[in-house]
């Protein structure tokens, strides 16, 4: 009794001390299956008008407590998310999965005890190496939204292919290609597949750390994995769970082919970034923006492999 009152007082005090703008993040869980909700990110670039809340997040109620899939871009977001999720399920958060290193998915993990935050070993290593750079970039783009957010590493390296929470089993798929380590999650009860950023839907894929052959191989694996609906890392839920995988692969293949041809045709990066985008991608959000980012990521490598050597020994 005393303990719970103290916990309650503590909770109220922390609510009162929370920055006034904490309420600015609008977190609206939408039920997508039995005991599983999504919080949709904005289908936009990371900008101050969205506070960086662009990644899709899932909340899963289990007999052992609440599980979060991703925790958002900032401390402020993750604290608000925790409140919303625990009110929704009535149970404390016992596990937070971070799918990969990009800051829109996991920079908010500072709001949790690192011991309950799990990520692939490759993600933890990548965060240790590059996380501070991402944090700097997020502060520059988002300013006050990021206040108090520090780079914290997940405390649990995922070494198993499954975790069981009081009878609700979650399959953990260690994949890669969007980054050096990408986690996907299959909720056995509902068949819901959480694709992380391996899968985008009607929102152009981003490629800052992409390794395209590995990404394609991961998509192939997800395609054949028996599953129901699919929550992509960005964009709306895919009810049948296949179209978004196919669309992501289609975009990556088109992108690589178009940029390869651009190098062969002698285009410069600016010109390559202005190449037409096929009509079949017309419904994709931020297609031109991501395409120009991808030119920056992929073009120098394509030039280095496609343009022939022309140097000759200089006369003394």
């Amino acid at each position: 009794m005393i303990l719970s009152r103290r916990a309650m007082l503590g909770g109220m005090a922390s609510l009162a001390a929370a920055p006034a703008r904490a309420a600015d993040y609008v977190i609206t869980p939408v039920v997508i299956g039995d005991g599983i909700w999504m919080v949709r990110g904005a289908d936009e670039p990371i900008e101050s008008r969205n506070g960086g809340a662009i990644a899709n997040i899932a909340i899963i109620a289990t007999p052992a407590g609440t599980v979060l899939w991703e925790c958002g871009p900032s401390l402020r977001y993750a604290r608000a998310l925790r409140q919303v999720a625990e009110r929704l399920t009535g149970a404390r958060i016992v596990r937070v999965y971070v799918s990969h290193l990009h800051p829109d998915h996991g920079m908010g993990l500072a709001a949790f005890d690192p011991a309950i935050v799990a990520a692939l070993p490759g993600t933890i290593a990548a965060l240790a190496a590059q996380g501070q750079g991402y944090a700097d970039g997020m502060y520059r783009l988002l300013g006050d939204w990021m206040r108090g957010t520090d780079l914290i590493l997940p405390g649990r390296a995922i070494m198993t292919a499954q975790e069981d929470f009081g009878g609700r089993a979650l399959r953990l798929l260690a994949l890669s290609g969007h980054s050096s380590a990408d986690l996907a999650l299959l909720d056995e009860r509902t068949g819901m597949l959480l694709g992380g950023d391996l899968v985008f839907n009607d929102r152009a894929p981003s490629t800052p750390t992409a390794v395209l052959p590995a990404w394609r191989a991961s998509l192939d694996q997800l395609q054949v994995l028996p599953h129901g609906a699919l929550l992509p890392g960005h964009g709306p839920i895919d009810p049948a769970g296949i179209a978004a995988i196919a669309q992501t692969g289609d975009w990556l293949n088109w992108l690589e082919g178009a940029l390869t041809q651009a190098v062969r045709d002698g285009l410069d990066m600016v010109e390559a970034g202005n190449l037409p985008i096929p009509d079949r991608f017309a419904q994709m959000a931020v297609a031109r923006y991501e395409m120009q980012r991808s030119v920056s990521h992929l073009y120098p490598g394509l030039e280095a492999s496609l343009l022939p050597r022309i140097d000759v020994k200089s006369a003394p």
Partner: protein, 265 residues
């Protein structure tokens, strides 16, 4: 925010007594460095802003170490010189190009050290300068972070490697793409001295100079340059470049090398 303003005031005080000549027109971009750069670069030559100088770049500076820019003034007759400038870079001028027998067109990639105007300035035979450009938002550090090849430590293994190709164009000109392996050290990174390509020229088979340029360290590591030159379709083009250590670079672009494209090195 305060520091650039103070710097600007200091520069203006330094420059004010020396300025007897023409006053440059007001800057549509409102850059704090416009007046200072205009006096230094254009002296007493007349200057005006002209949208026919088309300066193109992507909508986002995804990589502040390699930001692609094209200056295209093919809509203007009599361009003899083109300058690529980023006002707020510590090394503001990236390239000063003289297209002797070439279209007034250049594409390359530059470093951005902060949010800055990026401009193209072209000089006509009359001496007049025409200027255009826009603001680019960028994360800091493009000029003051070490090159990737310095961090990896393999820059010297690849120094002198040049890649390139020539394509015929419908108008009879030829599109030349060149890419050099070079660290392009700015001198603004601790314990790494300035070291960059500083001169480049393209010559046709008859020894005729098609175009030449001065290059500064604000051009990206591993510089990539695209030009449009006048030359016969079957002529071999020769490229000569020099860096600040006096190392010479030579390349030959022969029609036979154009195609087919090899898959690797």
């Amino acid at each position: 925010m305060r520091r650039p303003t103070r710097l600007w005031v200091a520069l203006m005080l330094m420059l004010a007594p020396a300025s007897a000549g023409a006053i440059p027109p007001a800057d549509p971009l409102g850059s704090p460095m416009w007046s200072a750069h205009a006096r230094t670069l254009f002296g007493d030559d007349p200057v005006r802003f002209d949208p026919r100088v088309i300066v193109s770049f992507p909508m986002i500076a995804e990589n502040q170490r390699a930001f692609p820019v094209v200056i295209d003034s093919r809509g203007i007759v009599g361009v003899r010189r083109m300058i690529l400038l980023a006002d707020l870079n510590p090394i503001p001028v990236a390239i000063d190009y003289r297209p002797a027998h070439a279209a007034p067109y250049i594409a390359t990639r530059i470093k951005l050290d902060q949010r800055t105007p990026v401009r193209g300035a072209v000089q006509l035979d009359s001496g007049q300068w025409l200027v255009s450009g826009g603001w680019v938002d960028a994360a800091g550090g493009g000029c003051s972070a070490p090159p990737v090849s310095r961090v990896k430590g393999d820059w010297a293994d690849h120094l002198g490697e040049i890649r390139g190709e020539v394509w015929p164009m419908a108008n009879g000109q030829r599109r030349v793409r060149l890419s050099f392996r070079h660290p392009m050290d700015t001198g603004l990174v601790e314990n790494i001295a300035t070291y960059h390509l500083e001169a480049l020229s393209v010559i046709d088979g008859a020894g005729r100079l098609l175009g030449d340029m001065d290059i500064w360290a604000s051009v990206s590591e591993d510089p990539a340059i695209t030009l449009l030159v006048d030359s016969a379709a079957d002529a071999t083009l020769r490229v000569a470049a020099r860096d600040t250590n006096g190392r010479d670079y030579r390349a030959a672009l022969t029609p036979a090398r154009q195609s087919p494209m090899p898959g690797g090195r």
